[in-house]
Symmetry: C2
Subunit: 312 residues, 2 copies
Amino acid sequence: MTITQLKYALAIAEHQNFTKAAEKCFVTQPTLSTQIQKLEDELDVIIFDRGKKPIELTDVGRKIVFQARNIVNEAERIQDIVDQQKGFIGGEFRLGIIPTVMPTLLPMFLKNFIKAYPKVKLKIEELTTEEILTRISDGHLDAAIAATPLESDNIKERVLYYEPFVAYIPDNHRLKDKKTIEIEDLEIEDMLLLEDGHCFRDGVINLCKTFKDQIDDSFQLESGSIETLIKLSNEGMGMTLLPYLHTLDIKEKLNPNLRHFAEPSPAREVSIIFHKSELKMQIIDALHNSISGIIRGAIAFSNVEIISPLPK
Amino acid sequence: MTITQLKYALAIAEHQNFTKAAEKCFVTQPTLSTQIQKLEDELDVIIFDRGKKPIELTDVGRKIVFQARNIVNEAERIQDIVDQQKGFIGGEFRLGIIPTVMPTLLPMFLKNFIKAYPKVKLKIEELTTEEILTRISDGHLDAAIAATPLESDNIKERVLYYEPFVAYIPDNHRLKDKKTIEIEDLEIEDMLLLEDGHCFRDGVINLCKTFKDQIDDSFQLESGSIETLIKLSNEGMGMTLLPYLHTLDIKEKLNPNLRHFAEPSPAREVSIIFHKSELKMQIIDALHNSISGIIRGAIAFSNVEIISPLPK
DNA sequence: GTAATTTTATAGTCTAAATCAATTAAAATG
DNA sequence: CATTTTAATTGATTTAGACTATAAAATTAC
């Protein structure tokens, strides 16, 4: 049994197809066929059920592939150890970011980061929290930036910053004349919420929930972007809540519509999250430092109340 | 990087010697030399410092070998998964047993066990608790039978039975005329204790400690075997405590010297312990079942008070 | 301080294993 | 039923792993 064979098995399990898996492994398809056969012969079990199309794992196969994932992960940590020893910070790094963080945070730190760590090949994807969790678990992402705490078993979190919510009150809204908003003022019925893998949205719902127990989701409107949200709000669909960093680049003429909360401000916790195996930890540390440094100048709030992104 | 190379590195790290490691791996010494060189070339680090005799690990080398242990352990679990799937219970299994359990328990279950599981090649070693803990941690033992709880990080425990202590009171001892012994009767000064990787001995000391805070170890005598202990006791060196199973095969003429404790009897907890990775769990389960079944007839006590084997 | 011994590294050879290109076989699709 | 997709097979080629023999280096013995 070799690590290579296990990697092949993982690729086939993932793509459910020898040919595609072979491409991903940069070998020919017969190579995969023979290597998997050798593995199956050595263990004397059938791992893949070729009877079904697309190919499926047998029951043992599923367990073996799960364990193979562990072995391959642990094996990759050897290179990690060496990199750490050499102080080398580089290689491919796949980072996921949730939609409501992506457009504000990324421009702030990316330039600095690639300058500070030119050997790191960052591959950034905009993903929902849900997608992020599965992709960190299955090894397709090295880390991600999301609202926390998530309380997910296989995933560790390291807080980057706390981002207060700022209310956007359209003209003619009942709260228009208040200078600062109280949490008690929020009514889920006249609030526009952003669908964001449920995470930002659930955070806001939790905020209102403390004062309203019954929520009828059918009245809520969900939009795909902060910009749409503001436009809808301006057309009289209700007020909305914006993460603080988004308010920094809002058009100046709309600024009068922004209302800060009375302290402690409701806020979301934004963290870099990664698999508990702590693979590529040097790069995660580098990202952490890089982002923390940038954000320190932008967010000065200290007295905040964290809103959980989890439903209920 | 191959699993084989990692195994070679582990062997060399253990024996600090290429030649001896080669023998253990059933290959020639040049094979090890070249494979380790290939591994070092690929990772571009030096793992072994050949400058020193005996050979030493470099700092990175130590980390790499530690990780290699993880990888090899995880890799061996693949075969485990397959065995479990097939219901196969077999292969080599290295079991450690502490001295005060070995002579009584082993004859009781061994015959039955090898009959029930003929494919398991049991390798049994008599070891102290301390030796057992290091050998389970470094993978030289698959499991062991010892007094518990041990509260060791990497090790899981599964209780096999509770074994009460029985007092052995020599003729002319101050307690000779009591029918049953109370814990309060015990005096650490006239007690003979068996050195047993400190575990049985510490258990008894704990027992007395509840009534005496100061112990002067210089007065205590330690012997290597239960038989010697009884003889010394008979020569007026003091009373002693025997684990219940030992009293079953004591010579009949000495039986009058045995005194049971008033309930709840002080007892030791005897468990099968194993690495937290739960490798070869089917065999551990088989041993557990086998021993539990046998012991059920022999020990009928229920109202017991557990004495911890840990110092202090 | 040199000889003997132990231990690791190197060289050259052999064998087995891994991979590839080309082809066949089998299944799914249209 | 023909076409397409996909896995298995074949045979050649390259690579990797292991061996024997030997050299080099270090340690120990005398």
